[in-house]
Amino acid sequence: MFDKILLAIGLTSGLYLVRNLYTMLLVLPDEAAQGMIYRIMFFHIPSWWTCFLSFLVAGVASAIAIRSKSNRADSLAVAATEVGLAFTFVGLATGMIWAKIIWGIWWTWDARLTWAFITALTYAGYLMMRNMIPDPSERLRVTGVLNVFSFASVVICYKAIDWWRTQHPGAVMSFRTGGGSIDPAMEGMTFHNFIAFLLLCIVLVTLRLRQEETLREIEGLRRLAYSR
């Protein structure tokens, strides 16, 4: 039953993405200043939102894990971090393609971009660290704390456009600016794609969580076998 629900969510996400592609390519007009490349924003912005949300889930799960010694929360933290990191790379790649066409360069060291890069490095460090600690309870404690610390870079990344004058465009979404800086149809499209990404993210995190739980079970059995 659970598998079927998961499959249904995955299928919904896929169909929603196809529907969104149709709308953004054939219904919405080109943007006045940027031409057709602006459409990459419908992937860029939602992938960052999804990744921030995943890291938030990972941070909260880690906090719960270290508080209540919950292995399940620890598994959720690693699943959400891995999927979040994948979305971070989608965000970085789409941003770089957009930058190459609009700015003429792939990368610039402004605050937003730099912190996006730092965020990716921090969470990659977290995943690396997990592989190095064989003892599950020590891994839960140490990497849980690291994950909570890492969330600071997500906050800085999110607020960078407010704190510094960046080359990265400022906030355009109406929930941050109060409206007027983006066409409602384009803003709606961004939210539609966000929902599709979010559904995909839920499926991926759940699958990864299940893998992690199985891995933990195998680890436990192996330890039991050695101790006998």
């Binding site: 270290i66 460090g125 660290m129 190095m132 404690r141 600071a152 800085i156 510094w164």
Partner: protein
């Protein structure tokens, strides 16, 4: 708790000053890198003035990691760490003492490197000595506090010398960036004002946030 921190601080400083293992190695490393800079950039050009802050803080971050790496390693022989914790030394007191010891060591390295850099590259870094001292204290505290927490996390790893920089550097970039920017300004004799003050706020905010987080979470790392 402060009394225990003070004891840990005294113990660490005494141990390090007797052996001078980490201090000597880190100082030698810092001086070698200072010389290497002269090959990377023309030491007589004006350019060095603009990037002196960046060079110096990269140097302090590298040599700082060598120092903080040792702080929990010292407790590994004879299970000293366990003995300390069993004897009801709070983990936060332990960390605070070690952080202050590390801060002192990093400041000692800075106290040698800053004048040497000034002499070798013909830049007077001490035009605003109080500002420079403030920046050094705040940024070194950032390296020391995060370095000590992460050293506690990585002390049991086989590849700790590798993992500590990998997780520490991305995290301390905000503090380092602020210190680099402010040192650059101060080294040309300009008092930070207006937009520059956001970097001062960032540095102070960074220290406050991470010190609070570290004190709150160190029990989880060491005791549980």
């Amino acid at each position: 708790m402060l009394r225990q921190s003070w004891q840990i601080f005294l113990k660490d400083v005494r141990m390090e000053l007797r052996g001078k293992e980490a201090l000597n190695a880190s100082l030698a490393f810092a001086l070698v890198v200072l010389i290497l800079f002269s090959f990377a950039i023309d030491p007589t050009s004006e350019q060095i003035r603009e990037i002196s802050g960046g060079l110096l803080w990269i140097l302090f971050a590298f040599s700082g990691v060598l120092l903080v790496n040792r702080s929990f390693l010292r407790e590994q022989s004879n299970d000293c760490l366990d003995v300390l914790l069993v004897n009801r030394v709070p983990a936060s007191a332990l960390m605070l003492g070690k952080t202050f010891a590390n801060l002192l060591f990093i400041l000692m390295i800075e106290a040698v490197c800053l004048p040497v850099f000034s002499v070798l590259y013909n830049i007077n870094l001490f035009q605003l000595p109080l500002w420079l001292l403030g920046i050094c204290l705040l940024a070194s505290w950032a390296i020391a506090i995060l370095g000590t927490v992460f050293a506690a996390m990585t002390v049991n790893l086989r590849l700790r010398e590798l993992m500590l920089p990998v997780i520490l550097y991305p995290m301390i970039i905000p503090a380092l960036a602020a210190a680099m920017y402010l040192t650059n300004i101060v080294s040309v004799g300009k008092v930070p004002e207006g937009d520059d003050l956001i970097w001062v706020r960032l540095l102070i905010g960074f220290d406050v946030i991470f010190t609070t987080l570290a004190l709150g979470l160190i029990d989880t790392i060491l005791v549980d």
